[in-house]
């Protein structure tokens, strides 16, 4: 038999630490507020890439070839009734310079007129972010990135300065520092109905005014209107509450009410810790964050239920044992399992964190924090609450319980 770890002794200090953390999170929320994402704050998020015009591509033959440039290859799909359907692709790593690429593409009757950087590696070409181009007599322009870091232009200050006339604007660097990729957010105050149609064009024009025509590429544009973001915010609240309620009902059916309440208290604790984390790291708060919180609500409950399951089993095995002892014993017995399940899930989430970018990366990070908090709250908060409840019930002496209750319920 393993040695039983005396978890119950740490219940009170743990509760105090948790309260401190949550209060700290609230303080951040009050003083700094959320860094609201576009879904919760009406406006346009426009991702732009500053680049150099590299070549004009045109096609005079029959059919409709469609050009797309990805990070690794240039692909042209020929289809239509008047040509032999086929796909031509050139690997950017092996094709050589941009001039070599032009020569290779000439074999497919595609004319590439190089504007700049003929001798540079074709890997510098900027992917066709705005969708694929249908080639025709009218040339389309493709871009390239800087050949050396010193060629890069457009600092974040310059970008900010050039777009500040558009409206209430904030600018963020996305990607590596010298990638020349920026996210420009323009807030929508709801006064102009055609805001979403006008703003992307205005931003682009402003940037082109500063950096030169043909040098600005829009990578993606997201817009959320005021009414939409409002209804999203209210439904997020409702859903979070309903989820908690549903879990409370389920846990009450499976166990007793105090167990259900303890479990729910633990997951609320995890949600609040995550909120604090999101606030203090200035991570963008958007629907993905809500998804992370709801996921943790559903996930963190698992460990708690396994422990409660064990408490019930163990108390049946030895009805005379004190609750504190049973709880300690049950937590100890399931501790390995608690750690391993969290660890395996964390391995998967870590892989998500490492291999993705943008909102999914933030999502994975929020999940990791939630999982750590979940493991901790399972052991200390949920069981601690159950013990407190039973203590209060069994020992109605107000003196001992009151001080406990005050600390625990003030959360």
């Amino acid at each position: 038999m393993k040695r039983v770890i005396q978890f119950h002794k740490a219940f009170l200090p743990a509760a105090l630490v948790s309260i401190a953390l949550i209060v700290f999170g609230f303080a951040g929320l009050v003083t700094k507020g959320f860094n609201l994402g576009v879904d919760f704050q009406a406006g346009v998020n426009q991702y732009v890439q500053l680049a150099f015009p590299a070549a004009d591509i045109s096609y005079a033959g029959k059919g409709t070839p469609v050009l797309s440039i990805s990070e690794s290859a240039v692909i042209v799909v020929f289809s239509g009734a008047d040509v032999v359907a086929h796909t031509a692709s050139w690997d950017l790593k092996t094709v050589g310079t941009i001039a070599d690429l032009a020569t290779a593409m000439k074999a497919e009757n595609i004319d590439v007129t190089i504007r700049d950087g003929a001798g540079l590696s074709a890997t510098l070409l900027v992917p066709t972010y705005q969708g694929d181009y249908t080639l025709g007599p009218q040339a389309v322009l493709v871009h390239r990135g800087p050949k050396v870091a010193s060629e890069a232009y457009g600092t974040i200050e310059q970008v900010r300065k050039s777009v500040e006339t558009v409206g209430s604007v904030s600018v963020q660097n996305v990607g590596a520092a010298d990638s020349m990729q920026y996210m420009i957010r323009v807030r929508d105050d709801g006064k102009d109905k055609s805001f979403s149609e006008k703003i992307p064009g205005l931003v682009k024009k402003a940037l082109e005014g500063t950096f030169g025509a043909d040098k600005v590429i829009t990578m993606r544009t997201d817009y959320v209107g005021a009414q939409f973001s409002k209804s999203l915010a209210s439904s997020s609240w409702k859903l979070t509450l309903l989820t908690v309620l549903a879990i409370l009902v389920y846990a009450t059916i499976r166990f007793k009410f105090q167990y259900g309440l303890g479990a729910v208290l633990a997951i609320i604790h995890d949600g609040l810790i995550m909120v604090g984390f999101i606030v203090w790291t200035r991570m963008e708060f958007n629907t993905t964050s809500i998804a992370a919180i709801l996921t943790i609500l559903g996930y963190s409950i698992n460990d708690t239920i396994v422990i409660f399951d064990r408490i019930r089993e163990d108390s049946k095995l030895d009805p005379s044992a004190s609750l504190a002892l049973v709880i300690d014993k049950s937590i100890t017995e399931t501790l390995g399992r608690t750690f391993i399940t969290t660890l395996t899930t964390m391995l998967a989430v870590l892989s998500l964190f490492l291999f993705t970018t943008g909102s999914i990366k933030d999502f994975a990070l929020a999940l990791l924090v939630g999982m750590v908090s979940g493991t901790y709250s399972t052991v200390y908060i949920a069981s601690g609450f159950v013990q407190l409840w039973e203590n209060v019930k069994a020992n109605m002496k107000p003196k001992a319980a009151a001080s406990h209750a005050a600390t625990k319920t003030s959360r």
Partner: protein
Amino acid sequence: MNKTKRFLIVLIVLAVAFAFLIPSIRWYYLTPKEDQALALGSREQIRDYAWRVARADMAELEKLATANDESPLPVQYDPMVKRARKIYKDLGLKTPQVWSAKAYLAAFDNKADALADLEDYYRTHVLSLKTLHGSAVQLGLDLSGGMSVIIRADLAALETKTGRTLSPAERNDAVVRAVEVLNNRIDKFGLTEPVIRRQGDDRIYVEIPGAADPERINGIIMGRGKLAFHIVDEEATSKLTTYLEANPLAIDDKLNLADQSLIPAGTVVRKFYTKDAYGLDEWTGRYMVINAEPGLDGNHIESATVSSDPITGQPEVVFNLDKEGGDIFFKLTSANVNKTMAVVLDDRVRTGARISGPIQANVKITGFAADEANNLALILRSAALPVELVVESQQAIGASLGADAINQGKNAVVIGLLAVFAFMLIYYKGAGVNAAIAQVLNLYLMFSILSAFNLTLTLPSIAGFVLTIGMAVDANVIIFERMKEELREGKGRKASIQAGFAKAFWAVMDSNITTILAALFLAQLGTGAIQGFAVSLAIGNMSSLFTALFVSRLIFDFNTDVFKRQTLSISWRVK
């Protein structure tokens, strides 16, 4: 249940899952890119494509036949030869030894039949690919690139404009009409399959895969359709029609003539369209030569209604012009009496009407069936769409970003899976293999369910899968830990397995049910991205119940009974 039965159930589930995966495999791995591009075109583009290719083939076949070439047809004609063979057989004729062009053409009564058959072949072929695409797993916009827009029909503004409260029927009509207009506009610019869906009372959801240039698409969605009246050059039209009948390929699919001297300067060729049974634009096969300059711009139309002629009972379309338009129209019609005027919407001729005399402001067009008249009225009215459309939210993602996202997702899934495998194998030794098999099956089942229900795969749903991989292992862990405890108490392999599964059952169920509960609530939350995540989380949890409780148990039992294993390899310490 005995093992054979359980094994059969697992096999059946795997086979059914595979059947669901077939369309996705065929579309994403076995269909060449150029065929995909064709299949993703609008139905109208496919029809045009079949029309053109059939004519090109026909020209080739006739050339071979006239040259008395007796050699067999090249391989690309194999599918058509197969169809011709069937015709021979149905007629009870002996099929030819060598399928030369002549033998092939002899299967048909005349050239028109042969042409129709060729056209039908190409059309059916591309349309079957389109159906295939429809039954494969769909890629979300974040993976395929493209644009989604939620548009609200501003009914409040419409009420202010009309100065009265709209009845529910009127509100509905306004939104229905807006959807129809959007359908028309987006259909025209074709290429990929647009999704246009009404959402709730006054919202319209539009999704255009592939295209991600908001400026261009906003122009299409929010812009008014370009309606104009053009005077038709009938002489040139009939000359061109005769010429094109003989040389159907003398005009390319962008309506450029090989020989521009066929039409007078200042005129252009346009196709004549009608609506088919599904309300889609259908080319009638006719061309019209019209003046390049419009006689009257559609902006001058104030209203349009359908009524019937009080004497003949024929439906007629009546529309009113504003003052300026009336003047222009009067001059135009006075100068062109007895000529035909074409109603052109976005460069497509919709209808033609003979000008019987000068017309001022109240225009009547007669001479079509009731639904045609309704269509025309709709076209005329949509040029002056009364309800204002407001963009509620919009997302545009470039296709290359989508390709990056797919790679990120793949890497995250593979590395996540490998990391979990490595851990399970090291920590649980032999039983880890069992968990690994369960995980692979789990992933396989998840994709199959996604495919079966035609759900959309997005980056968040891949994230859901990765998370599920981590969480699904939990079920294995709960069970394995229980088994270890049983082993520690001195039980044998068989008894430990039995007790382990039995005691862990409720813990596994509880944890999955609570997660599914959370996922179901999450699925209600606004945007599609989060729904994708929630749905894949729920799917993953359900399929992991099957793999952890059923499949994994079966593998353990198999090893016990069939391979006569006495010990359980599950831990380094507990033997």
